[in-house]
Subunit: 337 residues, 4 copies
């Protein structure tokens, strides 16, 4: 932590900050510059947690030189984390494809999808039973009934299943049916939910919030890991910008940035990122080429009747074409699909 | 709802969309333009809820001409809503000042603050007992203990009290102690929480999400009202942009925009919006001048030791100066402080 | 300038950075922290301009502790700058109102507007003769003919006139006709144009770019001042965000932020910021209450036929109502209209 | 063009809009819906250019159903445009690599770079002789001297050269030395400059503005083409968002979006998009996989002494590694490097 004083700060102001630092048993390293004095804090800065140094006279700014997340930080955990979801391994040498409908609508719809995506080479079935929808009048999901179809689909196909949870109730139901919990973008800073997910034994897929920085996202992962659950997979799904040609803006740079800052696996969801079916294939190719550990792709037996996000869903045929095109790219990069 | 077809769309594509609309008992008004054909849907478009018309061949885009929120919509409820919080009325002729610490830290801190803000003219005491913090290692709040101090502060001063809730557990505790529930920015689209708040008898202060549009914000209010609780007050607290000179960007236009679109009261929180104490007074003045129904201002007995958001908190003296300066402005605008 | 090394940086990496700093005749202050070493640079950091220290091994980040703008910086020029435009003074005790049509369309339109706004109390006439328009097929302005009407309007009414310039050609014409040059948002980082404006004797109204930070905006002002022209007035006109209820998002915090960082006057343009006529009055009130030195408001004899930005223009009657409502507010704040 | 009236609009308001449309010789198609009436305009809407229909009573909004750009629009020009730059073809079956220093610093630096990038397989040499820099005190470029080195580098290596122009003066100089003009991000809406570039015979590389929408970007291209110069290549270089881990956010979706909307080639600049050298390779791979027609990559003989943008520049060795890794990917996609 570095405290930058205002230009020409009085000695008494500098001494006051120094005194507070030393009172906590830390060492204040004073560097008197041409225009400004800076004070470096040497020692465990956690001891300063209950002090807002920014409040003192003539303090200009505080610069944090270390990240607040530790367990999710590559600096303290250099080896990549491998997350097991049922019999599937994320973060290793397989490019993992999760696919399925945005919302579970019926037993038949889900089972048909599960078989189709398995045939095309997907590894994990996704499906929403609790749908966070902007309007209260939109379809909100089948809830536990949907979860039971997820379980049945796993039993029929052998594919592990992942489902979004939006409350403690939903977590308590989901752990009985699914292999992985998903925390959605709108709940990325629902810290209560993160802690509850961290108390379960299931791996957690943590989507990035619509306007979350990468730093906040890794802090959200830290909440889960700090509760004892290290099995977190990050999912980039687009951030909110002024551009309206796509539903969100896929932040492809997040892939190398997460790889540089964290040991957690990262997958990409081009369906939600763009909201446009025709852009799903090029962005899937891009995500894999950028080094993503996997993809999450929406599919539906009949996208024209999907109760949620139809315009971005692929039909089974389109999904099969996608996996066929991804295969040689994945191979070229030395991985498996 | 208007369906815009792609330029030179084939008649068969147009007919297909028309057929789907008519199948639902609606009327499709075809307007064949110079370059494009547009199809207006006449009738209750809710009947089309299970159809994604955007998916059909040669459909270019769907334009929604009516908002999805109804209960929060001024079009269907032209008179302004007045919300009572204890003996305080929000949305009427009083400019309501809520004030208090970001986080309740101790009984003494809260009681001292309650007395000080009352003396300066504030109407409602705020204080956080459940703190959503970016890092799991930051102070998370005193929880129920904090709520009990809130109640005590109300008994001592007569000021109604408002506290943020972050889970169903927190709601269940809070209803026993406070006069108003707050849903924070990070939970604005925690739809589960919105519904639970909507089931209580307490008025709800709904902060705008960090990257929420005004439309989404009003849809979030709709979730609460749709559960039977019409007492919603909106709070603009800054949105996320590229600017870094302030913590967030206060969207002052939200005040007239909400007044144009909704009947709900709106207050402004310049403390969180800027994160800079020196900007709190000018932005408070601006918010009141723009027509806001109230303000939420952070105060602390000793901002330099605040456990949360110290740099933006006002001392008691600074708060008193602020209310003194606001008073003639409020009077000029024909309201009371 | 502070160089933050990566955690556990090797001594050889630290020594290398130190050597480069000292080679330039500066002093490197080493502060070896618990996790990271930071190096403070003492001396005139301009000597390091040709060095990219960020490139060296194990350098984590460079923190600039002083702003790159000097002439526009309040730290080095604490007294507020007063800018004279004809007989009008901006930055003093008058809240200056600039008004007029987005585009000069005809002699008659401009003269009618000039008389109407003068009657309502405006101080300066604005009007665009060179219009930067998104589409090449939209009306591009009357150019020199428009400038001649501006001059005629000044002669008839005595109001000084301001006109946007978009090229060196336009500057060369404008200096013959107008009292103040305007650099528009889209040209805020057209550094060539800034320099050319800086070489003239006319005061310059510098609008903020659509996605410019406050720091970049002040650096743009620095370009003008560095050419010898200190008469710069800043104009906040909204920034680009994800919100679509308004054309842009008025960054009201820019008013106190500019007052804190610079000595230059700042005015606010609520017409372009919102694009909605009904929001012009509340945001004008807000801007004045926040401490703005003036306003720029679009007016038109018949907004329904305006060739540019009609939906946000006020009619003469509406403008007169606005100035009537502003007057007591300005008086309350101890200023004149 | 569709005019949406407010709910329950009075017949007189509807009739007024209808009358204005018909007065211009167009046909107004009235569609009276359940809640709102919409009016479709049939005929050449250019005739309505001097009318702001949004201004009339009870008009809610205007929906444009056709884009304002025509010459850059795929709808009216379905075949992809191939742009020749010297002997290099952009938009065909070659993935074109442009590379070179951000700023031309010396004859030696440029020639060394030209030889190195040619050896590694690049097709076009880039180099800035006119540098738009945030601060007036930063290095502004060698101007015509720099252009002469560009020409010399072309003569020595045979590589065509591209250089940014920032004024009419710069264009007049550049056409004597280079093979392609670049319009930088900060000048994307410098419409004067766009027109002047459109009057030359050289192909133009048009970078996307920092906060430009794809629609605005294509309108900027329209300015160039409308002057008679159809040889425009678009370059995505990152947009401005709240994320600070990268300098900008590379909008990878712009690649398929431009391919869907326009016939113009698009290349990607991962160096400026991220500002982080380590992210250049993964994002180059991503851009090519997403379908980009080429890349622009910054290289420098000694990035640690680069006068501009050193931290994102690749050394010659790093650049050679990059092209080696790109080659099999390009081949897999059926193109040539």
């Amino acid at each position: 932590m570095i405290i930058v004083m205002k230009p020409k700060a009085k000695q008494v102001s500098i001494d006051r900050v120094k005194a507070i630092i030393e009172e906590k048993g830390l060492y204040a390293h004073i560097s008197a510059g041409h225009e400004v004095t800076i004070i470096g804090v040497v020692g465990d800065k956690a001891k300063l947690m209950d002090q807002n140094l920014a409040i003192y006279d003539e303090v200009d700014k505080i610069v944090y030189v270390t990240e607040s997340y530790k367990l999710a930080n590559k600096k303290f955990h250099p080896d990549p984390t491998i997350v097991n979801v049922g019999n599937v391994t994320i973060g290793g040498d397989t490019t993992v494809i999760m696919s399925g409908p945005c919302a579970v609508e019926s037993r038949q719809q889900l089972l048909a999808t599960a078989h189709a995506i398995k045939k095309a080479g997907a590894h994990i079935l996704r499906g929403g039973a609790y749908k966070p929808r902007t309007s209260p009048y939109a379809f909100q999901g089948l809830e536990e009934e949907g979860l039971s179809y997820m379980k049945e689909a796993r039993e029929e196909t052998g594919l592990p299943v992942v489902c979004e949870v939006t409350s403690l109730d939903a977590i308590e139901s989901a752990v009985k049916y699914v292999d992985m919990l998903q925390i959605g973008a709108r709940n990325m800073q629902n810290f209560y939910l993160l802690k509850e997910a961290g108390k379960t034994d299931l791996p957690v897929l943590l989507k990035r919030g619509l306007s979350a920085t990468i730093d906040e996202w890794l802090n959200a992962a830290e909440y889960i890991i700090a509760e004892g659950n290290p099995n977190v997979v990050l999912c980039e799904r687009g951030i909110r910008t002024f551009e309206t040609a796509t539903r969100n803006t896929l932040d492809i740079s997040a892939v190398p940035a997460i790889k540089a800052k964290s040991h957690l696996p990262i997958i990409v969801d081009p369906s939600h990122a763009t909201g446009v079916r025709d852009y799903v294939k090029p962005l899937s190719m891009a995500a894999v080429a950028a080094g993503a550990d996997g993809l999450m792709i929406e599919t539906h037996p009949d996208p024209s009747t999907a109760l949620s996000d139809g315009p971005q869903s692929l039909s089974f045929d389109q999904f099969e074409v996608l996996t066929e095109e991804l295969r040689p790219l994945v191979t070229l990069l030395g991985k498996k699909l």
